[in-house]
Symmetry: C2
Subunit: 241 residues, 2 copies
């Protein structure tokens, strides 16, 4: 029952782009240069493990809204310390370049083609916890054809807070049931559904690498389940497939 | 000296699109149906005259930030009353459709081609007092190839308040001198320059119709002055001209 959908909004990290490989690729030369003997993918995982706790400080109200580039930077400094490197000894420009690894992530192979088809019939936009500059720089580099850059910074709320979804629908001038969240994460979809959004599940079984155990299958009867963005475009009635 | 510019942000009403002809075209059948004997272009002018005072209530702090669709709707009701029609007698859907005339404005003939060239080298986005849904629906209909939809609603401040410009640069992750405002209005450019933005003037001598007297020439030595968006793309070093 997706006939009333006017906008498709997307989780980005993991759903549209492969953050783990991208961060590992960007971190590898930095780690080698500074003599940190860690698998770059494990370093990416360690950096990412600090993501939810950092946002939780905002969601709980303990901290005013702070954009993700800043949280990523604080988390990077912490994870470097965990690996025995004092970030104060590293040039600020070098740290900033590494922090912006999240701006330089590659899409999954089907993302750009699928989004391009979906754009012919729907408004398409990220609904990501990434900030506008991050998502915009990523889109310019990767060719992601968004109609607008939405998400936590524009909504001033981090997913899965209900305000992240409800404010996004209001900004689009749409009712929640006219908006569908597309994501590889059951938890994100559950939060979106609870606010009235429709839901599309696109599993990304390699998001966390070969040993991934979670989000391999739908946890609820999502409105659409598709193995990739091409199949999502098919399911949403878009030509060009 | 535009060598350091990374993003071009645009005034929209008057600079990118022809609001007066578009609103007049959309209002004409409504006015005829309701027996209001007024030139549709004069009706557009009357509606638009309430634009700055409505935003001033927000800029002065007398009213919390309110998106432009809402201000337009209030202004429409007032201007209908001025023309002897009680808006309470009109179906809400009909009023809403007319209010969304501002979502259905046509670009000037050079806008889409010029923006398409500029996009190859720069981030391009609206920095408009229009709200996100308005600018997004306009872009989908008209083919405006924005990289992101920015402006008053995202910055939570109406131009020419300094925060409208400074918050936009911060959201882009850029310093003010890395952003150039392109506009047909000397006042907008003066406010942008005072915050450190670079400035591009593109006069639109028909914005207010054949009798236009203001903004026909640059009031300061703006960084770029170009007769249309094609010449702007030339001046900014973009190919494809």
């Amino acid at each position: 029952m997706t006939a009333g959908v006017k906008a498709l909004v997307f989780d980005v990290f993991g759903t549209v782009v492969d953050w783990r490989s991208g961060v590992a690729r960007e971190a590898a030369p930095f780690l080698a240069k500074h003599g940190i003997a860690v698998d770059p993918a494990a370093f990416a995982d360690a950096w990412r493990r600090r993501y939810q706790p950092a946002m939780e400080a905002v969601r709980s109200g303990a901290r005013p809204f702070t954009r993700l580039d800043v949280l990523h930077s604080e988390n990077l400094e912490a994870v470097l310390r965990d690996h025995g490197l004092d970030p104060a000894t590293v040039a600020e420009a070098e740290l900033d370049h590494l922090n912006r690894a999240w701006h330089r992530l590659d899409p999954w192979p089907d993302s750009v083609a699928g989004l391009t088809r979906l754009k012919t019939r729907y408004i398409i936009a990220p609904l990501s916890n990434g900030n506008v500059a991050l998502l915009l720089n990523m889109a310019k580099r990767a060719g992601l054809p968004w109609d607008a850059i939405l998400g936590a910074e524009v909504a001033q709320a981090y997913k899965p807070s209900p305000a992240a979804y409800l404010n996004t629908a209001a900004i689009l001038g749409l009712r929640p049931e006219e908006v569908m969240l597309c994501a590889a994460h059951n938890g994100d979809l559950a939060a979106a559904r609870s606010t009235g959004f429709l839901t599309g599940f696109i599993p990304r079984p390699m998001e966390h690498g070969a040993g991934q155990t979670k989000d391999l299958a739908p946890a609820q009867d999502w409105d659409v389940v598709a193995p990739d963005f091409g199949a999502l475009a098919d399911a949403m009635g878009c030509g060009g497939g």
